[in-house]
Structures are given as structure tokens and as C-alpha cells.
């Protein structure tokens, strides 16, 4: 690289950092105050983009930008008042589920309003050309962005440090209980913060229009980028977000400049993993006042009543009889349901009793699936042996990654699981010789005696029923209690001689192993495996299933998995806007049964 290209790549990085910062700042603010992991933040950004393109044709680009941001802010206030307010008190992470549902609804709404095609907006009037810099041409608009990012940053810092409202926001970020004790009107503080966050997201989206067409994929891309920036910077820290945006954008720009463009696939996740391992609370984050687990710790986990146990046995018996009554597709769908039930239960095993968030559980599902495929095809093993050994790969992966993850807490730990999952995903994506790259591996079929749908269904039923009962039994074993002890009161657990980290680590490995079983079953049921099987979407699916079912229940994840799988299948077949429908059903459930479906089955004590 010549000096001039180094300079220009540096400027490229600065411009990207500015746009990253705008979304990340809003997300960070919202999380800091409300503790909501706003999954729909990328959707607000996407709305900002679409609105700006649409408005630019009518009122011109420069009027469109503030207008779009204002409309998104208004929309944010509606969302906060009508939806989020009702669920601040609900178990943690439920908000995540609600905002995920919102994401689905907004995506389909955008498709409905603006159609499927990418909308390339206008260039910004006055900034359409390029200026000569160091012998190269550099777009004027990028220069404008480079200035805008720091301007917004300074502006936010001023609001936060100089206004009364800002001081309250900072107080609430550091200690929510204290802020409410100070007599802060939490409701309006929360609304205000959410609106400001939405405004920033909308602004970020609108300002992106001259660089990128508005499209329906942008919500997920942006939310994952923004999460990474927020976590790397330290949750709730605006200067941290600024620094992290800068760091990540520059690293990416220079990866490209130096010819390692493939590395950008997961670069942000590698940076995040490195930062979290070295600095458990991000670059400028502080140790949270009180580390809390995934559940409201004080909820009891009642022992299953004899009635419930009888019901479960009857259910398994009924499932075993299904092939008599109906063949074909019912079995295919039930096979999927069973596999995802085991997957969800394995995720619940660490989220419920152990109180460890995981946003990357799909990694272990995928490791099991890929190991099955690789052992079977490359290793030329018999299918039975491949199926038996594959979960060990997942368990081993969980053992390695778990060691790091249990050293962190809360959202940081969750984001580290996500980072590892993305790194594994990218390995599967890039390692053509072993994994078949983006195409994946095809031709992973069961042995002849298991090849029929009925036989494979029985195999799945057997493995999943055994796996699930093992995990459930483990919850009520001393080990399960030790996990809950570490979640309820790490202090007390330590004082009675329990090694909380070791227990969590073991739980991580067990959950990984179980997820690996479901992954291996999945691979042989589909005949193929490709990187999607361990993508973010799969991890999110797992979270949705667990939370739909109820994190503080025992059987909930199974009902959640069944409902979610069935809903996707049925809705996708019959309804064009099935994503929105799934989102609406989730929202309805979140509002109606905030403790999850499991409570309907179990009843409350």
C-alpha cells in the first residue's frame, strides 16, 4: 500500500465508523437505561432508509433526512408506549423476544409498502462529487459523514453531561434502582431514551441512503454490526461505542486494503471475541453493578408433578403411535419438531438453571451436524457410528468455548457465545475442502434400515426423548441444583464450596453435547448440511423457542419448539406475509402469557 492509499483507506474507515456509530449509539443508550436488548434496532434503521428514499423523491434529500429520522422517532415512541412498557417487568430477555417479533413485522411491512426491489436513493445534493486527496478521488459525501459522526458524538456527550435529563439517563445507566429512588419518573425517562435511540437509528439509516440502496436485508446486517460495536465498546458507554466503531471500521478497511477481503466476513466477531477475552466488560465498559442471570433468579422451579410426568409419558407413547395413524409429512414435521425440542431444551439447560445467556447455541447444533456429515462422507464411517460420534465434536467445541464464556457475565457472555458461533460458522463457510463451503455437504443419508421416514422418526423420537429426559433429570440432580445455586447467589454458592464456574463450564459442555445430538439427527434427516444450520438465525430460533415456552419452566422449551416449528411451517405454506404473522403471534403470546407457554401446562405454584 502506498501512503496515499493508506490515507484513503483510513478515511474510508472513518466514514464507515461514523455510520456504525450512529446506530450503535442509540442501541447502547437504550440498553444502558432500559436493559432492553433491542433486536428491532436494525429495523428502525431500515425504516429510516426506506423513508428517506421515499421522501427524497417528494421533498428532496436534505429535507428527507430529518423528516425520516423524526418519523422513526415517532414510531419508536409508539412502540415503547404501546408494547415495551408492558413488559419491562417481565422476565429478562422477554423483551428480546418481543423486539425480535417486531423485527419480523417491520420487515414484512416494509416489503408490503415499498415492494421487493432494492431502492437506490439519490445522492446528496451538494455532495455528489469527489475531491482530490493524495492523488486519489474521495467522495465528498464520505467527508461529510466523517464530520457528522463526531458531531453527533459530541452532541450526545453534551446532552448527557450538561442537561438534567442527560444526568438522569447516566444515573439510570449506572444504577437503575438508585435512579428510581431519586424520584426519577422512569416511564418518561425510558420513553425519552427509546425515542432518542430510534431517532439516531432513523438518522443513521437516512444518512446511509446515498451510499447504499434501501433493502430488506439491512435490518439484520445492521443489528449484528451494532451489537458488536456496543459490546466491544462496553454496554451503555457512548465513548466506548465511538471507539469500537472506529476500531472495527478501520480494521475492516485495512483488511480490504491489504487484500484480505475474505477476512471481513467475521472480522468484527473476531475483534469482539478478542476484546471480550481480554476485557470482559468491553473497551470502556464498567462491571455492571449487579451481574444478573437470564432468569429472574427468585422463581422456583417446581418439581414436575406426578400428573405432569404421567402426561409426558403419555405424550411419548402417543408420539410412538403416530406412524400407525399417519405417515408421510406428519412424520417429517414431527421429526423436525423433536430435533428442535432437544435443541431448545439443551439451550434452556444453560439459560434456565445456569442463568447463562447464549446467543450462539447454533454453533453446537452445527458442529454436531457437520461432524456427522464429515465423519460419514469423508471419514467413510457407518452412519450409526457417525451419528454416535458427531455429538462429541459439539461437546468438545462447547468445552473449549465454554471455558471463556463462563468467565464473563450477562450480555457480554452471550455476545461471546455469538462471536464464537460466528467464527465457527465462517470456518464452515470458508473451509471448502472439509465443509464444502457455502454449498455445504450433501448426501448424508441414514443407513438403509433407518432410511424410511418411520424408522428415522422412531430413531429421532428415541434419541430426543432420552436426551430431553436426561437433561430434565439433570436439572433436579445435585448438579442441577448447584447450577441454580450459582445463578441465585454466586456468593453463597462459593461460600458452601461450590465451584460455580466449573459447574457452568460442565453445563455448557453438556448442553453443547445435547445440541450436537440434535444437529447430527438433523443432518441425517435432511441429507445435507450447510452453514445456515449454524447461522445467527438458528441461534435466534432457539432463543425464541425457549422464551416462548418460558425460561423458568421445565417443559416450556418443548412446547415453544413445537409451536414455533409448526407455526413457521403452517404459516409459510398458507400466508404470503408469514413472517409478520409469526411476529404477531409471538407478540400476542408475549403480552398474554409473559411467563411462557410452559406455565399453561404446569400451572403456577
Amino acid at each position: 500500500m502506498s501512503y496515499s492509499s493508506i490515507l484513503i483507506q483510513f478515511l474510508n474507515g472513518l466514514a464507515s465508523a461514523s455510520s456504525l456509530f450512529l446506530v450503535a449509539a442509540g442501541l447502547s443508550l437504550i440498553f444502558g437505561v432500559t436493559r432492553i436488548v433491542n433486536f428491532a434496532h436494525g429495523s428502525l434503521y431500515m425504516l429510516g432508509m426506506y423513508l428517506a428514499v421515499w421522501l427524497a423523491e417528494r421533498v428532496g434529500f436534505w429535507a428527507a433526512v430529518p423528516l425520516a429520522a423524526a418519523i422513526v422517532a415517532l414510531f419508536g415512541s409508539v412502540v415503547e408506549i404501546s408494547l415495551l412498557r408492558r413488559i419491562y417487568k417481565a422476565p429478562e430477555l422477554l423483551q428480546l423476544l418481543a423486539t425480535f417479533a417486531l423485527l419480523l413485522v417491520i420487515k414484512d411491512a416494509a416489503l408490503w409498502i415499498w415492494g421487493p426491489e432494492d431502492l437506490l436513493g439519490p445522492r446528496a445534493p451538494g455532495f455528489t462529487g469527489a475531491v482530490g486527496i493524495a492523488g486519489g478521488a474521495f467522495p465528498q459525501y464520505e467527508l461529510l459523514l466523517i464530520v457528522l459522526g463526531p458531531v453527533v458524538f459530541v452532541f450526545l456527550q453534551l446532552i448527557l453531561s450538561k442537561t438534567r435529563w442527560g444526568i438522569l439517563v447516566r444515573a439510570a445507566t449506572q444504577d437503575r434502582e438508585m435512579a428510581s429512588a431519586l424520584g426519577v419518573n422512569q416511564r418518561w425517562l425510558f420513553t425519552g431514551v427509546f425515542v432518542l435511540g430510534a431517532l439516531l437509528a432513523g438518522l443513521g439509516g437516512a444518512l446511509q441512503v446515498p451510499r447504499e440502496p434501501a433493502n430488506l436485508m439491512v435490518d439484520l446486517t445492521v443489528i449484528s454490526d451494532a451489537f458488536v460495536v456496543v459490546v466491544v465498546g462496553g454496554l451503555g458507554s457512548i465513548p466506548g461505542a465511538f471507539l469500537a466503531a472506529l476500531l472495527i471500521a478501520e480494521i475492516k478497511a485495512f483488511c480490504i486494503g491489504l487484500g484480505f477481503s475474505e477476512a471481513t466476513l467475521v472480522m468484527e466477531f473476531m475483534v469482539m471475541a478478542a476484546v471480550l477475552v481480554l476485557r470482559p466488560w468491553g473497551l470502556l465498559g464498567r462491571m455492571p453493578a449487579e451481574a444478573r442471570g437470564a432468569g429472574t433468579a427468585q422463581q422456583p422451579l417446581a418439581r414436575p408433578s406426578p400428573r405432569l410426568l404421567r402426561m409426558l409419558v403419555a405424550l411419548v407413547a402417543a408420539l410412538a403411535l403416530v406412524p400407525l395413524a399417519s405417515g408421510g409429512y406428519t412424520l417429517v414435521l414431527l421429526t423436525d419438531v423433536l430435533i428442535f425440542a432437544l435443541f431448545a431444551v439443551s439451550l434452556h439447560f444453560i439459560m434456565g438453571p445456569a442463568g447463562l445467556y447464549s446467543f450462539g447455541h447454533a454453533a453446537y447444533f452445527g458442529l454436531g451436524a457437520y461432524a456427522a456429515g464429515i465423519l460419514f462422507l469423508q471419514g467413510k464411517m457407518p452412519m450409526e457410528l457417525a451419528l454416535a460420534l458427531a455429538p462429541l465434536a459439539a461437546g468438545f467445541g462447547a468445552l473449549v468455548f465454554g471455558w471463556f464464556c463462563v468467565r464473563l457475565s450477562g450480555v457480554y457472555s452471550a455476545m461471546l457465545t455469538l462471536a464464537f458461533a460466528q467464527i465457527v460458522w465462517s470456518a464452515a463457510f470458508q473451509w471448502d475442502a472439509l465443509t464444502g463451503g457455502s454449498n455445504g455437504i450433501v448426501g448424508i443419508w441414514p443407513a438403509p434400515w433407518l432410511a424410511s421416514k418411520t424408522a428415522y422418526y422412531f430413531l429421532t423420537l428415541l434419541f430426543c426423548a432420552l436426551g430431553i429426559s436426561f437433561l430434565w433429570k439433570a436439572i433436579y440432580s445435585p448438579f442441577g441444583y448447584a447450577l441454580r445455586a450459582g445463578r441465585d447467589s454466586p456468593l453463597r454458592a462459593d461460600a458452601i464450596g461450590i465451584d460455580v464456574r466449573a459447574a457452568q463450564w460442565a453445563a455448557f459442555a453438556i448442553a453443547g453435547l445435547a445440541a450436537g445430538i440434535s444437529g447430527a439427527l438433523y443432518a441425517f434427516s435432511k441429507g445435507s448440511i450447510s452453514p445456515e444450520a449454524m447461522g445467527i438465525q438458528r441461534s435466534v430460533d432457539g432463543l425464541v423457542m425457549v422464551m416462548l415456552g418460558g425460561i423458568q419452566t421445565l417443559t416450556g422449551p418443548v412446547w415453544g419448539a413445537a409451536l414455533y416449528t409448526w407455526l413457521q411451517d403452517a404459516a409459510a405454506r398458507n400466508i404470503d406475509y408469514w413472517r409478520a404473522l409469526v411476529g404477531i403471534v409471538i407478540l400476542a403470546l408475549v403480552l398474554a402469557v409473559p411467563q411462557g407457554l410452559g406455565t399453561l401446562v404446569q400451572g403456577r405454584k
Partner: protein
């Protein structure tokens, strides 16, 4: 709860008359709507035409279309549903390579014919080819090969390559390098940029390409990535003294959004729908516009021809028996809006071609100029090579 009841109602499948022949179709409608909505319209047009003309072998065709959820696992389940519950005669559809391959693999396992309509991956009919799978569209290899003659003519030595980092981009790049190096010994590939699909950091990529000082560029970017690349490249002067070849760049799906920024003189494969004057195309064009009050995109042609492929195969087979369908599809000759095609008996690849031409912006719109039709048959490797790839 009401919603659930509603859903349950919807689930009760509608009664289907035994007279119809069902064609099962699955695609990632929610993930690639820009391509697949016109595709669906093309399919429906074909279906209506066929049924208006009395159907096939005296029976009406019925299209059972499903969203495949955008991932292979769900796609396989959806395909199973089409096979077992809907009893479809054959499967068609799919867009992304990995989903196409997964469904093809399932088709072989469940012994049902699969006509892959859109996936471009070469593996579909070669490395991973099987006797149940046929493919309609010109593959990555074929379309890349179509650009080679023009690329060779330019006699440029320093080439840079940019491609989306997944199967399609990787194999386009590999084919291009191999074919060009063979046709023009001494050619140099001075830079390669592989941004993640849908996430190109266009400014940095363009700058990196400028640094490499290429004389020509081969790109297989499309959709949002292409739009960002074009805008940044225009602004930063990347294209000023550089010839650019862009696979798929002339397809209306990807060309139309570029509007007045359409770069001049790029060589692309695509579909200049407004200028093709062949009777076959004119007929299709008129019918499509009449039916949908919209112009066709490339997807429309693919969907239209896919349904006709299925119908012709069933007609030729005299029924829906899988073995007979395979026999019928092998060497099936038929007309498409792009002219006559053959499904090659050896590798099940159709000879559907593509249009090769240059881009130009006129009146705020991008179009293809200097175009010619490249018949797919001329850009396929000989059977001997294919046989080795198919491990037959």
C-alpha cells in the same frame, strides 16, 4: 388465540380434484423477492396458458408453490411436504446454490424429478449431479464462458477480480481465471476482492482495486452489492480507464435500480427484454405485459420456461411416472422465449442461453447495447469432460 384458530382453519387443506397434475415448486420468496416475484408471475402465466390450451395429456396442471424459508433444512422439509402430502409429479424451483443442491440431493433420495430453475452452481449438474436433477438456466460456468470472447479481444493483461464471497462468486471467479488464462496466456490477475454477500464495503474495495492498477475488472457482484460498487467506483474514478465485465449485470433485476448511474460500456450477461424481436420472445412479451401490466424480468423468463419444461416433460412421458419423466427430460427439446433449448442427455443441463452485451445509460435508464444472443449449447464443455466431473 384467535389467530391460532384462524391458522388452524387455514391448515385444513383445500380439497383437490384428482384430475389435475401437481407440480411442486419451492423458492426463497422472502429472501430474494426482487428476482422471485417476477419469476412467480412468469410461472403463473405459463400455467394459465397451458391450462387454457387444455392442460397436459388432457389433465390440468396445478402449481403448488411454497416458500422454502431461505435455508436448506426448511427447504428439504417443504419438499418432503410437496412429495408426501401433495403428491406432486415433480419438483421445481429454488434459487440459492446450497438450497438447490440440498433439494436435488433429496430428489435423488426420494426418487422424484427435480427441475432446478434458477440455481447457477455448476455442481448442480456436474460434481453433485444425479439422475433425478435437471437444470434450466445457464450455469455460472456457461455465463462466464460467454463473456470470455469479448474479454480476450481486449488483450488486457492486468485483471482484477471482485466477487461475492460464496459459491456463485467463487466458481465464477475460478472459471473466469481458468478460461481466460487458457485463451490468453500471459494474463495476470493482480487483485482479488471477495466481500461478503450483501455487505460490500464498497469504498474500501474500490480503493483497493484502484491501488492494484488493473486494466480490466471481472466482477460477479449483483443486487445491492453491485449498486454500491457502481456508485463508489463512478465517484472514485475506478472505471475511467478500466474495462469492466460483470456477470448478470444486464439482468433487469439488477440493472434497473442503477438508473442514470449505469456505467457505460461494461460487458455483461443479461436480458435486453425491450429489444429482442424474435417471434418467440415477442409472443411471451405481449402475453406477459397483458397479464401483469408490467415488463418481464429475467426471473419471469426462468419461471415461465420452468413450467413449460415440466409440462413438456409430462406430455412427452405420457404421464407422471418418474422413470418415464427422466427418460422424457433427457434430450427434451422445447421452445422458450430465448429460443429453442435442449436438456442435454448426459448432464441434464439445458442449453438455454443468455444475452451478452454492453451497458449504456440513456434517458436516466440503464440498457444493454451491442448485444448478441449466446446459445448455451456453445458454452458447455464436451461430454467427455462432463462425464469425469459427474464421476460416471
Amino acid at each position: 388465540m384467535k389467530l391460532l384458530c384462524l391458522l388452524a382453519l387455514l391448515l385444513v387443506s383445500t380439497g383437490v380434484s384428482a384430475q389435475t397434475i401437481k407440480i411442486g415448486e419451492l423458492n426463497s420468496y422472502k429472501v430474494f423477492p426482487a428476482f422471485l416475484e417476477p419469476y412467480k408471475k412468469g410461472m403463473e402465466l405459463a400455467l394459465e396458458e397451458i391450462n387454457r390450451a387444455g392442460g397436459v395429456n388432457g389433465r390440468k396442471l396445478e402449481l403448488v408453490s411454497r416458500d422454502d424459508g431461505g435455508n436448506p433444512g426448511d427447504a428439504v422439509r417443504v419438499a418432503e411436504e410437496l412429495i408426501t402430502r401433495e403428491n406432486v409429479a415433480l419438483l421445481t424451483g429454488t434459487f440459492a446454490s446450497n438450497i438447490g443442491l440440498a433439494v436435488s440431493n433429496l430428489a435423488a433420495q426420494r426418487k422424484i424429478v427435480f427441475i432446478a430453475a434458477e440455481p447457477l452452481t455448476d455442481k448442480m449438474v456436474w460434481e453433485n449431479g444425479n439422475r433425478y436433477t435437471f437444470r434450466l438456466r445457464a450455469s455460472t460456468y456457461m455465463q462466464t464462458a460467454m463473456l470470455i470472447p469479448e474479454a480476450v479481444k481486449l488483450k488486457k493483461v492486468r485483471w482484477a477480480i471482485v466477487y461475492p464471497n460464496y459459491e456463485y462468486g467463487q466458481s465464477a471467479t475460478a472459471s473466469f481465471k481458468k478460461l481466460l488464462a487458457k485463451a490468453q496466456p500471459g494474463v495476470q490477475f493482480v487483485a482479488e476482492q471477495a466481500p461478503p454477500l450483501g455487505k460490500i464495503d464498497a469504498g474500501a474495495v474500490v480503493q483497493a482495486l484502484i491501488d492494484a492498477k488493473p486494466e480490466a475488472i471481472f466482477s460477479s457482484l449483483f443486487a445491492a452489492d453491485l449498486q454500491k460498487f457502481v456508485r463508489e467506483g463512478n465517484l472514485r474514478g475506478l472505471f475511467k480507464n478500466t474495462s469492466v465485465f460483470n456477470l448478470l449485470g444486464g439482468e433487469p433485476e439488477y440493472l434497473d435500480p442503477l438508473k442514470d448511474e449505469t456505467p457505460e460500456g461494461w460487458w455483461v450477461t443479461g436480458y435486453p427484454w425491450s429489444e429482442i424481436r424474435t417471434p418467440a420472445h415477442q409472443k411471451f412479451l405481449d402475453a406477459y405485459r397483458k397479464r401483469w401490466n408490467d415488463y418481464p424480468r429475467l426471473g419471469s423468463v426462468v419461471g415461465y420456461a420452468a413450467i413449460y419444461s415440466a409440462a413438456n416433460a409430462i406430455r412427452k412421458a405420457g404421464g407422471t411416472d418418474t422413470e418415464k419423466l427422466i427418460a422424457a427430460l433427457k434430450g427434451l427439446e422445447m421452445d422458450t422465449p430465448f429460443g429453442p433449448i435442449v436438456y442435454r442427455a448426459h448432464d441434464h443441463q439445458s442449453t438455454m442461453g443468455a444475452y451478452v452485451g454492453q451497458l449504456s445509460a440513456r434517458g436516466g435508464k440503464g440498457r444493454m447495447v451491442n448485444w448478441r444472443f449466446a446459445d448455451g449449447a456453445n458454452f458447455l464443455p464436451p461430454f467427455e469432460e462432463v462425464r469425469i466431473l459427474r464421476k460416471e
